[in-house]
Symmetry: C2
DNA sequence: CTGAAAGCGCTTACAG
DNA sequence: CTGAAAGCGCTTACAG
């Protein structure tokens, strides 16, 4: 906040023009208390001197930093880049800069990250909480992006509806025996998605849930999911709560000689970067990140403006859930008994 | 930068204790000009009042914002999360906050992003430039992370060496006919990697390069790479310059009935999140992001300290390239003529 | 060891 | 329409 690396400050412009700093300030902020001609002269001079306003000076005077924080549980998570990008864009449009913080690791780190952000003077923050964390008692407005079923949530995708769309799509393709693949049964987001999938499939469908975390605890990280076996046992579709798990299922099926989508359909979630790239391309569901970010930032800014330098901050209350969009790609085909039976033997030949 | 949401500022502590603000400042900054007992009393009082120093006040006085910028060409790129995370961590360790900026789109956006960062008072910035961009004439120290062969580069992975390790590994496994998969021939990073791969394979190997961008321009986005056909024509390995392209090749091979690694090996680059998760797990090469980030931030901070509020900034000069680490996983096996010949017919059956 | 004073750059009532 | 003055919170010589 050295401001004038380029040298000029308000006073410099003022003295160069023989006017007061107050007038320069008024002219540049365009509040209209200065004559048009003088304003114009000041603007030109400012440009000429390469004037860059000092955020520090302004912040000190107004108590506003023009910066919000973004707390992410794990920046390396493949979904968060989308969030970060959307938040940055929305914040920028609202005139705010974005300071990032990674709550990587544990809840203590999250609290620490939040505190550091406060020390750095953020006016508010958007936080994507760690699993099972409640954000309480933060000294500034907070918008929480999590899951509609999480208390204190501000905005999020309608994960349940996303699941419902997937489930309905599979049902329409004729799938009646579906394996749902989740990672962690403690995740609100995952449970919302799974609930939606089940509901979308309808009561006539058989479902079972494969929890990767439990499986890996038993068999070691990176162990096979055993999806090919599920196909032998009659399952015709795999609905994963993330494109990452869908990818895992897809490649394991292929490696074991099962044709996707002829013998088994695979769906994911989130439209991650590889979804359109793999063969066959993944059917998935996408959240409208831009909209979520807009809502989060709008709510945050409203709260910041409403408070207008109070002594206590707080959590912005529940607002809305954003619809998800189904993206149908080739990994998902009709359940065709004859073909499935047909290819089982071929698969057998190849698998060994 | 409202500082005292919690209320207390230096003056409040001072008057509560009947001392001067200067003394409080000295005590809290620990520069040792205050008696131990008084220091302790001040520290306790500060804690009690929930004192949070005003960055704005300090910044205005010292001319230092304690913030650096991070400019990324596309936050949604799967590799950048790792960069962002590492930079955030390194900056945090050095006492700096990180303001993010996305130069998404074009070069004009990049310039604009840089300017906005300057307006926000960053003391320096780390930039991962857009392809083919030179960063010049920025009003603060800049560390550039790109490729050793890019002029003005500050730190980066040794992409050539990473390629070399991949190439040598494939050569040791007996591969003599390798397809290199790149995206864009204009990328310094990709060219470095490809040069390394060729060199690692040695002069006895036949190589050809498949440029995805050109292919897609002819055949449309998401078109098949035709990798199975390459196998029929005698290629036994595919070395991609990114795990994303490796994944594309892998799934396409599997979909076309080619067994990986028995009939063809596949390697990637960057150890992206799915590399260990797919079946077979991808052999790849990883950059030491933590080290790269440390070097970038160290160089940046040194430059910031050296300048100590000059009128001109500039680019931190060339420094170093960081070794890459080969990660061998199952996607990569020995070239075994007999087995390859053996499975070709099976592949043929399935392919149609 | 402690304090009084000045000043970083800005904005905002308030006077004129 | 324009200006003089005060003050946001901090740190840093300088005196004592």
């Amino acid at each position: 906040m050295t401001s004038g690396r380029a040298g000029a400050n308000l006073a410099a412009i003022a003295s160069a023009l023989g006017v007061s700093a107050a007038t320069v300030s008024n002219a540049l902020s365009g509040k209209g208390r200065v004559s048009t001609e003088l304003s114009e002269k000041i603007r030109v001079k400012a440009e000429e001197l390469g004037y860059v306003p000092s955020i520090a000076g302004r912040a000190l005077r107004t108590g506003r930093s023009g910066v919000v924080g973004l707390v992410l549980p794990d920046i390396a998570n493949p979904l968060f880049p989308q969030i970060a990008q959307a938040i940055e864009k929305a914040a920028d449009a609202a005139g705010y800069g974005v300071l990032i913080a990674d709550s990587h690791g544990n809840v203590a780190k999250q609290t620490q990250a939040i505190n550091r952000l406060i020390e750095r003077g953020v006016e508010g923050m958007v936080v994507v909480p760690r699993r099972g964390t409640r954000i309480g008692n933060v000294d500034c407005p907070v918008a929480v992006i999590d899951s509609p079923s999480t208390p204190g949530n501000t905005v999020s995708a309608d994960h349940w509806d996303g699941g419902f769309q997937i489930g309905r799509h599979l049902a329409e393709l004729g799938h009646r025996n579906v394996v749902i693949i989740g990672n962690n049964p403690d995740s609100n987001v995952q449970n919302d998605r799974i609930g939606g999938i089940r509901s979308g499939l309808g009561s006539s469908a058989q479902t079972q849930t494969l929890w990767i975390a439990s499986l890996e605890k038993r068999n070691g990280a990176g162990c096979p999911l055993g999806v090919a076996q599920k196909v032998m046992q009659g399952s015709t579709a795999f609905a994963a709560v993330s494109d990452l798990h869908a990818l895992r299922a897809l490649t394991e099926l292929q490696r074991d000689g099962i044709n996707v989508p002829e013998q088994a359909s695979v769906t994911g979630f989130d439209d991650l970067i590889w979804a359109p790239v793999v063969t066959p391309a993944l059917t998935t569901v996408r959240m409208d990140m831009a909209k979520i970010a807009d809502l989060a930032i709008t709510a945050l800014v409203r709260s910041i403006d409403a408070e207008d330098r109070p002594l206590s901050g707080g959590v912005v209350a529940d607002i809305s859930k954003v619809a998800m969009e189904l993206i149908v790609r080739r990994s998902c085909g009709p359940n065709n008994k004859k073909q499935a039976a047909n290819t089982t033997s071929t698969a057998g030949e190849l698998a060994s």
